[in-house]
Amino acid sequence: MSALQFEETKTIGAIKFGVLSPDLIRTYSVTQIVIPETYDEEGIPIRGGPMDRRLGTVEPGVRCETCGNFISLCPGHFGHIELARPVVHPLFAKHIYLLLRATCRVCGRLMLPQEEIERARRRAKRLEERWPLLKYKFGESVAKKAAKNTACPHCQAQQYKIRFEKPYTFYEEREGGSAMLRPTEIRDRLERIPNEDLEALGLDPHSARPEWMVLTVLPVPPITVRPTITLESGMRSEDDITHKLVDLLRINQRLKESIEEGAPQLVIDDLWSLLQYHVATLFDNELPGIPPARHRSGRPLRTLAQRLRGKEGRFRGSLAGKRVDFSARTVISPDPKLSIDEVGVPLDVAKVLVVPERVTPWNLEEMKELVKRGPLEYPGANYIVRPDGGRIDLRFVKDRDALAETLKPGYIVERHLRDGDIVLFNRQPSLHRMSVMAHKVKVLPYKTFRLNLLVCPPYNADFDGDEMNLHAPQSEEARAEALTLMLVHEQILSPRYGAPIIGGLHDYVTGAYLLTRKGTILDKKRAALLLLEAGFEGPMPEPAILKPGPYWTGKQLVSAVLDKSFSFEGKASVCRKCEVCLRELCPYDAYVVVRSGELLVGALDKNTVASQVPHTLLHEYVRKLGNERGRELLDGLYKAFILYLDLYGFTMGIDSLDIPPEVTKEVGSIMSAAEAEVEKLIAMAARGELEPLPGRTLEDTLEQRIMEVLSRARDRAGELASRYVGMLKEAVIMARTGARANMLNITQMVAMLGQQSLRGERIKRGFTGRVLPHFKWGDVGPRARGFVYSSFRGGLKPTEFFFHAMAGREGLVDTAVRTAQSGYMYRRLANALQDLYVAYDGSVRTSEGFVVQFRYGEDGVDPAKSDHGAAVNVDDIIREVLARRSGG
């Protein structure tokens, strides 16, 4: 029974907003603050000053005079200031304005006929239940309507126009000229508005009487929200709000004295408006129309509104986003030998991050051992939590052996992280849910987090200095959710497009291709080595070649690992897109067929093993056999791919880009032909013979034609050159298989870079009439407008290099601008959609229960489980049924 103990916890059910009444402010207050000074000569807070000890404590070792607690427990207490004269609360000025206009200046009634007020009240009440926000809009429209009346329908009093001067001054335009409304007068008028009329405006008079918007008493925030900072030099520095309060108190005192002395009205009004200014800037120091209150150094003060606002403000910075404990961050580096579910954690991190483990009769001995080893020896423990909640820090325990013996079931030992513990791993920017995934810990030497290369795509990580964060969940629920929902292999299929986001890139693709392409044969040693790496258990498959010795093909090894129930058919990336597809008989081995786990034909490449590509072998494998088997494939076969790449000795050098000299010459002749054509176009344009395209100017047309000619020529040159590089060269292997780069990149390396462009046009800005001083005025030829004839291999000319740099710079600027824009769009989308969820009836609803979709996505299918968007792959089912027919 005692194991099932539930603490009664208080939960917040709802939060009510309202305006504090003067009475309430006084009730909450522990003391009135009157003295505009903080500390006396000895540095003791002055009683009755803004740092009064009764307001709470921020100094260590000092008890709060109100609640008797030390800093960690004292919540802080409000005080209050009795204002010598009322002032307008600047943030409510807009609401005051609306109310002043909508109500009678004499009787305070809402200036609408009684029936209409009644009707509005009933309507507001009805709206409250359905669309609260609409109620407020309705209330505003009622107020606007009432404001139009020039005479009160209740007491027939003539109304004057009210002028509102931002941020807090009101004038009434009477016959004799406009007169300023003093806060006292405003307060009197607001007081006269009856509760019933306020309800008609959609307001709640019980939580916000309008006269409370004119302050007579000011709450003084507790010291805990405006702590004193003590610098190393012993200098004390007060918070901005404290400074503000001191100023405010000083003026308040002077105003009070002036009134008591019976000073002339002019002096009183001056001080009054100064008090108003100080109160206004205490609430918001960025009000339009008034100068911000400044610190002695000239820095504007950061007062209440500034603390709430913005990215680093209370709301977005401290409440919607919080800082956490039990986390670690360091550089990441690759480790292909780890499972995709694992993360390599440095020993030093494992000794700091802890997992609370409850002591039971079954783990008692183990826990004792951990406690004895202490915080410095791994694996050990850092803390013990007693059932009464007391924490023992093992760093300061002298005799840990004795302490260990006191361990009993019910204690909690906060032990070091160890292999198999579940942790969350994250890389910013966390753009999608795969940016945070659960991994199993593998404690390793050295100082970096290690991760399998196959999980780079979801994190969008590389190893050029990237750092990542690690979090150790502390509760059993958190660990359970992490394990069942967030584990890496549960995230193989992306909900964005229903295809694997985890999978091979770069070397994995090259390796897969080299291993499985036609002609790859392996001797016994290599075959066995690869099978071992792939996690294959069982007898070696029958060798494909017996003489001159046993040899295996790469396809055989893949077949050995695949599940025997798995079948697949698809085109490889090396496919040449022939007019008539010979399918299984493809001469390029680009048609992949797997039947009953046997890779019959086809070389594996991007379209079969890579991530972020739908309908690959990997995709189908995961879909049909599940995430767990998918993980096995990724942990086994994929490891063999890169091992084979090692054995093969794959490398690329300058000789990968060699082409015969006569080809270079031919490329040159293609280009000179193109140049001649451009010449001709320019000449034609000069003579006015060029027919402009509809809707374009002559220059535009010429530009477009030139660009067409040049790009055609470049394509031809590239095609020619790449034909001579041939399939055997490493660069081409990588491009064709989709591992990295494309044929265009190879063209740029061996033949020419081609046109450099800015904003989609040839480069034309720079000096007057020319881009660089190396060219003649008005030269619009290819060279002068950024066409690069050189190849990367041959090297660029200085002007060409400059053009290339210009285009490169554009790309960088573009990226910088884009991240900001898309980041903001993402934030808005997230904020608008975050409350939507699928209800048990299959509909999509908001947190209020409004139906957004009757059925999610019209068919209720989860995109992550879909077949690249399709609810069910009917073709596949039919194929399977047909296969059974021929088989049985």
């Binding site: 939060i15 229903g498 808005r828 089912i877």
Partner: protein, 401 residues
């Protein structure tokens, strides 16, 4: 071997699942099963396997589909180009695409940076190029300037002399009469219009040079023919449909739909608000989906339609087109805390105070803000009440440890 199944048989097999499978999927099964020439037993196998797979692929209740959608659109948008313009299939016309257009759609802007209409045609207008061109001329806004070779002011007679360009007249399908008619519409009491071959003289009857000049400017841009707001209309052959259609720069749906030859069933504009106003909210939803999909496809970004649909639905589900953001979906949340946590924090708090609002803490951010550990999506929607015999205290949900 048994005979092949007929369509009727497959439909009969699907009968028990009418309320389970989406109609499109059921149709697909019928079509493909019949085409594959399966036997009845095999067809049954296919149907059962398809139903099983469909049920397996359904979303889990509680799934935070909104957040997943936001991520699925937000994440690829970081990879988009900023390049604004792209050809709308026709070389002469540019459309905004890429990230700026995506933002425009999500913002539900009232004015689109490059308004475009795709005007589909009916009957023979769609088949014969000349007929299509005729419609295009009706659409394209033609001003006097467009058809004149020269427009001069005669200061002696206080007249404006328009010399028409025969080629342009032909091109735009305008007669000198039409020009005169257009002028007659503005001439007022005193003026008169004379037509002499290709010269149109407009005697203003004014006596003030300044006014004459003003009239001159007005005359230059006077509409002779076409639809207001449509700067250009280009006829284009749609290979897929095998018919002619018109793409216009500038949009004016109301006017375009009433032109003869225009197929009002298919004609669309890329202005979401215009669509909502003219064709209704469902059409606006469909257009949001179509436009977003187009932008993403053009950039080669793979995003499931279901995500795009959800954005479109969130923007339109209450019958108005609302933007995603401060002045729309995110700004109209019932929770003051949620609004404050998004943008314009202080204003939302102050308004909430004046109105005496109550925040019921039903949404995600509100619960994060107050520090509750359960957020009402995903596994957080589970509300389990367990009664332990002999235990007075009852734990609710996953809140207590």
């Amino acid at each position: 071997m048994e005979g092949r199944v007929t369509e009727q048989v497959v439909r009969a097999l699907l009968k028990p699942y009418v309320h389970v499978l989406p109609p499109s999927l059921a149709e697909e099964i019928v079509r493909k099963v019949v085409a594959a020439g399966l036997s009845e037993d095999e067809a049954r196998e296919v149907v059962e396997a398809a139903v099983a797979e469909y049920l397996r692929n359904l979303v889990e209740p509680g799934e935070a589909v909104g957040m997943v959608t936001a991520q699925s659109i937000g994440e690829p948008s970081t990879q988009m180009t900023l390049r604004t313009f792209h050809f709308a299939g026709v070389r002469e016309l540019n459309v905004t695409l890429g990230l700026p257009r995506l933002i425009e759609i999500v913002d539900a802007r009232k004015t689109v940076s490059t308004p475009i209409m795709e005007v589909y045609l009916e009957g023979e207008y769609a088949k014969i190029r000349e007929k299509a061109l005729q419609v295009a001329r009706e659409l394209e806004l033609t001003t006097i300037e467009n058809v004149a070779r020269a427009i001069t002011i005669d200061y002696v007679d206080y007249a404006i002399v328009i010399e028409l360009d025969p080629e342009m007249l032909e091109n735009r399908g305008v007669e000198p009469r039409d020009v005169a008619k257009a002028l007659n519409r503005i001439k007022g009491k005193k003026g008169s219009v004379e037509v002499e071959g290709l010269t149109v003289v407009y005697r203003t009857g004014l006596d003030d040079v300044a006014k004459l000049r003003k009239t001159y400017d007005k005359v230059r841009t006077l509409r002779v023919k076409g639809v207001k707001g449509i700067k250009r209309a280009v006829v284009r052959y749609d290979e897929k449909l095998g018919e002619y259609k018109i793409v216009t720069e500038g949009s004016n749906l109301v006017a375009a739909l009433s032109i003869e030859g225009v197929d009002y069933r298919r004609t669309v504009s890329n202005n979401i608000h215009e669509i909502a106003e003219v064709l209704g909210i469902e059409a606006a939803r469909a257009m949001i989906i179509r436009e977003m999909k187009r932008v993403l496809d053009e950039q080669g970004l793979d995003v499931d339609v279901r995500h795009i649909m959800l954005v479109a639905d969130a923007m339109t589900f209450n019958g108005r087109v609302r933007q995603v953001g401060r002045h729309g979906v995110a700004g109209e949340k019932p929770s003051a805390l949620a609004r404050a946590a998004f943008e314009v924090t202080v204003k939302h708090l102050v308004d909430a105070a004046v109105r005496g609002e109550v925040d019921e803490l039903k949404g995600v951010v509100e619960n994060v803000v107050v520090g509750s550990r359960i957020v009402p999506v995903g596994t957080g929607i589970v509300r389990l009440l367990m009664q332990y015999p002999g235990l007075e205290t009852v734990a609710e949900g996953a809140g207590s440890t």
